[in-house]
Subunit: 377 residues, 2 copies
């Protein structure tokens, strides 16, 4: 594999991209409990299974809808064994042998790497694009153009990430620093990945214009991903390839796989060697990290300025109040004289929260874990 | 009847008071929807039927418990026809013929006057003490001492009210100005009744030391009350006496009765003529007018400083929050980063309110009335 930074100027990435497109598969890791969206999101019914935008489609379904114009049915979903039935129900178009059920969570490298190994075995030329099941995209057409450019860059042997144009100095995401442009396309070399910064550092990043949010989207040849993994985590790579060769070994192999995020296992060391590219994307992206974030994705309810309702707004009554309301129990929800409040009303648990403390709902979930209230988490 | 202000100095009110005690009846008007305690209090299940102090007894039952040491079973309850069954169930010791069912609400003069007429017919010497079914008393022994003094003064022919020692410049209550002492007992003449004042005026009242809260407690001979009423509202007095003489005429007579409060019908005009006495009371009183008031009656929940819970505190989870929580649906209630909030969680309606806006819940109830959501009011 040649280092992307040394690819000759003027080489046309679109040529190989076009052919690569036929080999392109979407991989959708559908995991994570979405603790900061409790009590709507639960371990048994996590975030990706919920319609969090009022579109009528769950985040998982919206991810499918967004990718299949590019891939057709070339989609692999990797999810926890507990969610297999729900995923099948929500995605009737997903072929049965394209749903991988993890016996237990072993972090993103095992999940995506397993999918990569399965694809590599089916098609040695396979290019995979990994996109989380629980993110929201604004401009889907722009997203697909960006992915198409990433597929082209991946076909040339790069690990390609998509760098989201930041809209504010967020402290909840990692950042990607752009390096030199790679040829005529939109791809750049990655100068570095950086961890979640503090507010001041985030401001500095934005001021340079060279930093993008890391949304955890990777596009890469399946074989390239596994070969790179084999350089730094040979046992993990071997285990995943063994799984793909003999799926009956799942229960035996899976528990021994190293638990590591794809960023640490491959993306960061590969970037340090100049082997990662980034395609900047300006399509509007949100990871719906908490209820404040969810509120910002919703329009104000009709006749309710400053109030976003996820669900049936006719169940909400207001007197001088603003905030985010999720009436998910069928009951009437009345707000009087409260500002920037979050109210999430489910059949067995109610959350009332200050919007600016939206991250701190995890404190409630932790209490419930300690108290073994698994009925509520 | 002699005017109380002209009763000879040195006359011993306790003599007639002692004998009057045998003729003393408690009258409990059990009415009012308690709109400002919505959604706990409803038209179908009003405030007085609820345990709002966590004592295990409803406000009505607590009123019974507080009065029967003085009256035995000499208690009349006047309530709406819709609540007769609930009152019977809550007060099994109340004789059936001592529960008066109003066909429709016709304000406090008709309710108390009807009870007075019934008592007058049974016992021409009857003294009635009228005490709302939905108030809370702190020191019950002090309350009963105060009532006993009022009964003595009433036996002498006064209309006696109990003036609650104010603890703050409340703007939600009327006030009573004390006049000269009446003899050796605690009773004073009433200088005037004044309507709910603004904050500044209330402060002025408190500074004088002469003003008491008007809690709507009246102690008076049944005959005196009706004779006074006959002076200013002869048709109403005649109607009530006709009802007592022939209970079968209820449906015919009741709808034509004048709708007026006892304060306006009798207490204020009688006070202007120097015929009203007041016994000051310092026993701790609250009309549980709204959820802020309710919170102030409750202790902080164990391990939850600044949080008052009416109900099962084990259903509440907190992260940096204060306020009043009523978990009345059996669901978990979690608060995160909210201060001075009121959360009332019932099976079909949820209220989230700023504590300082506790009066404004009536705005929600008004909306529901306009929308004919009688299922929720």
């Amino acid at each position: 594999m040649s280092s992307p930074a040394t690819r000759p100027e003027g080489a046309a990435p679109t040529t190989s991209g076009t052919s690569a497109h036929e080999h392109f598969w979407a991989v959708i890791p559908a995991g994570g409990a979405g603790t900061r969206l409790w009590p709507l999101s639960r371990q048994r019914s996590p975030k990706f299974l919920h319609d969090l935008t009022g579109s009528g489609r769950s985040l998982l379904q919206a991810t499918w809808d967004r990718l299949t114009p590019l891939t057709g049915s070339q989609v692999l979903v990797v999810t926890g064994a507990a969610h297999v039935d729900a995923v099948r129900e929500q995605l009737p178009g997903l072929p049965a042998d394209q749903l991988l059920a993890e016996p237990s969570p072993r972090d993103s490298m095992a999940a995506i790497g397993w999918a990569a190994a399965v694809l590599e075995a089916r098609d040695p030329e396979a290019v995979l694009g990994s996109f989380a099941a629980d993110h929201v995209i604004g401009d889907e057409e722009a997203f697909r153009e960006c992915v198409t450019a990433a597929v082209a860059a991946a076909a040339d042997g790069h690990v390609v990430t998509i760098g989201i144009e930041p809209t504010h100095p967020a402290t909840g995401f990692g950042y990607i620093e752009l390096g030199e442009p790679l040829g005529a396309g939109p791809a750049h070399a990655v100068s570095q990945f950086v961890e979640k910064p503090d507010r001041e550092r985030a401001r500095t990043y934005l001021a340079t214009g060279r930093f993008r949010w890391n949304a955890g989207m990777f596009v890469v040849r399946a074989r390239v991903l596994l070969d790179l993994l084999a350089e730094w985590h040979p046992e993990l790579a071997a285990g995943l390839r063994a799984l793909a060769a003999d799926p009956t070994r799942l229960e035996q192999v899976w528990p021994g796989l190293e638990k590591i995020a794809i960023d640490h296992a491959v993306a960061e060391p590969a970037a340090a060697q100049g082997r990662v590219a980034v395609v900047p994307g300006g399509f509007g992206w949100d990871d719906v990290g908490d209820f404040a974030s969810l509120g910002s994705l919703l329009e104000d309810a009709v006749g309710m300025p400053g109030v976003q309702v996820l669900g049936d707004a006719s169940q909400v009554r207001l007197v001088d109040s603003t905030g985010v309301v999720v009436p998910a129990s069928g009951r009437l929800v009345a707000l009087v004289g409260v500002e920037d409040v979050v109210v999430v009303d489910t059949p067995d648990a109610l959350l009332v929260m200050s919007r600016e403390r939206a991250q701190d709902v995890k404190g409630v979930v932790e209490q419930l874990h300690v108290q073994r209230r698994t009925d509520l988490t």
